[in-house]
C-alpha cells in the first residue's frame, strides 16, 4: 500500500535514455542507422532513400513486435514514460472550454489534482485528474502527481458541486500514490481517501473513471470509484508499486520484475479479474507515440459511457454502481454456502420446471381455445 520513494525522485526519467526505454534497445540501433544515412545523404548527396525506407519498415515491425508482447514490468515502464501524455494533454486534446476550479475550501489548492468544468462531446462535465506535471518546476509544484489530503478534498468538493447541478464527473487517474509525508498524515490522508470512497459510491451523478498511466494504490482509488472504470492498454493499476512489493516480500527491490508479474497489474490481467470494464487501445509503441490517436479513443469511450449512464434514472444509476462495487473481488469460497446454494439451486430448478410446465399448460390451453 505504500509507494516507493526512489521511484518518485527518479520520476521515471532515468529509465528512458533518448526517449527509448530499456527494452526498446533494438530500436535505438535502427533509429541511429536511419539518422546516419540521412546525414550522409544530406552531406554527400548519395541516394539512400530505399535503404532508409527499408530501415523505417524494420523500425515499425520491431516496434510492433516489442509492444505485442510487453512483460508486466515493461508495461510499468511504458506507463511511467516521461513523454507519456498526461491529464493536461487530454484536457487540451479531448475536452473543450476548461474552466478550472481551485482549492478544497479548507486548507489549500493541491496542484497534484486538477479540477473544473469542461465539455466533452455533447456533455458538460466536472473534470478531475491527477497532474504529474511536465517541466521540472511544475513537477515539483504538483509533487509528481502525488496528492495530499487537500487534493482528495478538493476533488470531492468539486464532485459535490457537479452533483448539485447534475453534471457527470470524469476522473483521469495517473499517480504513483498519495503523498507519503508528515503534513499528509497530519491532515488526514487516510480519512480523506476513505471519505472519497464512501461519497463516490453514493454521488448522485454519473462517474466515469479512466486510468491513463499509473494507477497507484489508494491514491488512485481515491478518485477511482465510479459507474464505469476503464484503463488504457499500457497503463497499470496496482495495490502497491512493484518496487514496494519486491522490497517487502522479496526483501530486495531488485525483484521488481517478478513483483510486477505476480501482482497482475496489467490491463489484460485486470480485465480477467473483472476489476475494470474496458481497455482503451493504444497505438503501437504506446500513447506517447501518437497522443492524438489515443485521445480519440478516450473521447469515444467517455462520450459513449456518458450517453449510456445519462439514460438511467438516478436511483437505477446508484443501485447499479453499488451492485458493481459489491461484486468487486469476490474471490472467496465457503463450503457451507456452497451447500446452501446447491440446495436452493435444486429448489429453484424445481420451481422453474413447474413454472415452465404451468406456462406450457396455459399455452396449450390457449392453443386449444384458438383451434
Amino acid at each position: 500500500m505504500s509507494i516507493e520513494p526512489t521511484v518518485m525522485s527518479a520520476g521515471g526519467a532515468a529509465a528512458a535514455v533518448g526517449g527509448f526505454l530499456e527494452f526498446e534497445k533494438p530500436l535505438v540501433r535502427i533509429q541511429h542507422d536511419i539518422e546516419e544515412m540521412e546525414r550522409e545523404q544530406r552531406e554527400t548527396g548519395r541516394d539512400h532513400a530505399a535503404d532508409i525506407r527499408q530501415q523505417r519498415t524494420r523500425f515499425k515491425t520491431t516496434l510492433k513486435r516489442l509492444y505485442s508482447s510487453l512483460t508486466p514490468w515493461e508495461t510499468v515502464l511504458v506507463a511511467r514514460h516521461p513523454k507519456r501524455p498526461l491529464s493536461t494533454d487530454y484536457l487540451r486534446m479531448v475536452f473543450r472550454d476548461f474552466c478550472e476550479l481551485h482549492g478544497d475550501r479548507a486548507f489549500a489548492d493541491d496542484k497534484a489534482i486538477i479540477s473544473g468544468f469542461a465539455r466533452i462531446g455533447g456533455h458538460k462535465v466536472m473534470f478531475i485528474g491527477h497532474n504529474k506535471g511536465k517541466e521540472v518546476k511544475e513537477r515539483i509544484a504538483c509533487n509528481f502527481g502525488c496528492a495530499h489530503p487537500e487534493g482528495y478534498r478538493k476533488a470531492l468538493q468539486k464532485m459535490k458541486l457537479a452533483e448539485k447541478y447534475g453534471l457527470p464527473v470524469v476522473c483521469l487517474i495517473d499517480t504513483q500514490g498519495a503523498y507519503p509525508g508528515i503534513g499528509s498524515e497530519e491532515r488526514g490522508i487516510a480519512y480523506a481517501i476513505a471519505t472519497n470512497l464512501m461519497e463516490m459510491a453514493r454521488l448522485r451523478t454519473p462517474i466515469v473513471c479512466v486510468v491513463i498511466g499509473e494507477g497507484g494504490s489508494g491514491g488512485a482509488l481515491g478518485i477511482g470509484v465510479g459507474d464505469r472504470v476503464a484503463i488504457f492498454q499500457h497503463a497499470f493499476y496496482s495495490v502497491i508499486s512493484p518496487e514496494g512489493c519486491a522490497a517487502i516480500l522479496w526483501k530486495t527491490a531488485e525483484q521488481r520484475k517478478h513483483a510486477a508479474e505476480a501482482l497482475r497489474l496489467t490491463a489484460r490481467e485486470l480485465a480477467k479479474l473483472d476489476m475494470i470494464d474496458e481497455i482503451i487501445p493504444e497505438p503501437v509503441g504506446g500513447a506517447h507515440r501518437d497522443p492524438e490517436k489515443v485521445a480519440a479513443g478516450l473521447e469515444k469511450y467517455v462520450v459513449a459511457a456518458l450517453n449510456d449512464l445519462k439514460r438511467l434514472t438516478l436511483g437505477t444509476l446508484i443501485r447499479r454502481r453499488q451492485e458493481r462495487i459489491r461484486r468487486l473481488g469476490s474471490f472467496f469460497a465457503s463450503p457451507s454456502e456452497a451447500k446452501a446454494r446447491a440446495a436452493t439451486d435444486v429448489s429453484t430448478t424445481r420451481r422453474s420446471t413447474s413454472r415452465t410446465s404451468r406456462l406450457r399448460t396455459r399455452f396449450s390451453q390457449r392453443e386449444k381455445v384458438t383451434t
Binding site: M1, S2, I3, E4, P5, T6, M8, A178, Y179, P180, G181, I182, S184, E185, E186, R187, G188, I189, A190, Y191, I193, A194, L197, M198, E199, A201, R202, S217, G218, L221, G222, V225, S238, V239, I240, G244, C245, I248, L249, W250, H258, A259, A262, L263, R264, L265, L270, L273, M275, Q322, I325, R326, G329, S330, F331, F332, A333, S334, P335, E337
Partner: protein, 268 residues
C-alpha cells in the same frame, strides 16, 4: 480453536516490550494484556479481544468458513496458498477477521474484530467480504456496528482484488449511514494503509487504544521520502487525536463501558 497470542513468549514470565519490566504472565492476562508497570497495550489476537469485549459466550459468528481462493495464484518467496495454510495452522483461523452478532454490556451489536496474528490482519477478499457482510447485517437488523481495527493494510498477495475491498466496505458504509445506523470504530495497534483509508476512518465515533499506530503511509517510506527524522509520537493515537482524527483515546479496560455509553447516547 487454537489460541495464539501475539508476541507472548511461552512461559510464566515475560519482559514488557515497552518498559522492559519482568512481568508475571498470569497477571498481564488479568490486566487484559496491558503492562501493569507502564500501561503498554500489547497486541492481542481476535479471540482474546472478543473474550475481553463481549458478554461471556454471546458471540454468534457468521461467515466463519469463508476462505481465500488465491485469485492471482500469487507466489513470492513462498506460494500464497502455502502462506495461508501456515497462518491458518498457526492461528486456527481461516483469515484475518472475525465477525458476528454479540452483546456488550447487554446491548446487542454487530461486531468485527481484526486479527493481527494473521498476516498482520491484512485485507484481502475474505476480510473485505466479512466486513461488508457485518456492515450489511448491522444495516438490516438496525444494530450498532462495532469494528475493532488492526491491519497492515491491503493484502499484497491478492493485488487489486484487495484494493477493491476498500471501495466495497466504504460503499456498504454509505448504505449503513443512509439507514441511520451507528458505527463505532475501535482503532488498535496497528491500523494503517488500506484499512485506515477505508472503513477504519469512517466511524461515526472513532475510539483508539493508547499509543496505537494509526496512519496511511509506513513511517519508513515517509522518512525516506522526506529524508528526515519523524517527530516523536508520529502516527500514534495521541498524535491522531491532536490532529482531529480520533474522538477519544480509551484504555483497554474501559472499552466495554465506553462503547455501551456511546450506544446509549446515540439511542440505539
Amino acid at each position: 480453536m487454537a489460541q495464539d497470542k501475539v508476541d507472548v513468549p511461552a512461559g510464566l514470565w515475560s519482559r514488557c516490550e515497552s518498559c522492559g519490566h519482568m512481568l508475571y504472565e498470569k497477571e498481564v492476562a488479568e490486566a487484559l494484556f496491558v503492562c501493569p508497570e507502564c500501561g503498554h497495550h500489547r497486541r492481542i489476537d481476535a479471540r482474546t479481544r472478543i473474550e475481553q469485549l463481549v458478554d461471556p459466550g454471546s458471540l454468534e459468528e457468521f461467515g466463519a468458513d469463508l476462505r481465500s481462493t488465491d485469485p492471482l495464484k500469487f507466489k513470492d518467496r513462498m506460494p500464497y496458498k502455502e502462506r495461508l495454510k501456515r497462518e491458518q495452522g498457526k492461528t486456527g483461523e481461516l483469515d484475518a477477521v472475525v465477525v458476528g452478532r454479540a452483546f456488550i454490556r447487554g446491548r446487542a451489536v454487530i461486531l468485527g474484530v481484526m486479527n493481527p496474528s494473521f498476516i498482520m490482519a491484512s485485507m484481502g477478499a475474505v476480510v473485505g467480504e466479512k466486513v461488508t457482510r457485518a456492515i450489511e447485517r448491522a444495516t438490516e437488523e438496525n444494530l450498532p456496528l462495532v469494528m475493532v481495527t488492526a491491519s497492515g493494510g491491503a493484502r499484497m498477495q491478492e493485488g487489486m482484488v484487495s484494493l477493491m475491498q476498500m471501495a466495497k466496505t466504504a460503499a456498504a458504509l454509505a448504505r449503513l449511514d443512509e439507514a441511520g445506523g451507528l458505527y463505532i470504530v475501535v482503532a488498535t495497534d496497528p491500523t494503517t494503509a488500506g484499512v485506515a483509508a477505508s472503513f477504519a476512518s469512517l466511524g461515526d465515533v472513532i475510539l483508539a487504544e493508547p499509543k496505537a499506530m494509526i496512519g496511511f503511509a509506513g513511517p519508513r517510506v515517509i522518512a525516506n521520502t522526506i529524508n528526515a527524522e519523524l517527530p516523536e509520537g508520529f502516527q500514534r493515537s495521541e498524535f491522531m487525536q491532536e490532529h482531529g482524527f480520533v474522538d477519544r483515546i480509551v484504555p483497554r479496560g474501559e472499552l466495554r463501558q465506553e462503547i455501551a455509553r456511546i450506544i446509549d447516547y446515540c439511542g440505539k
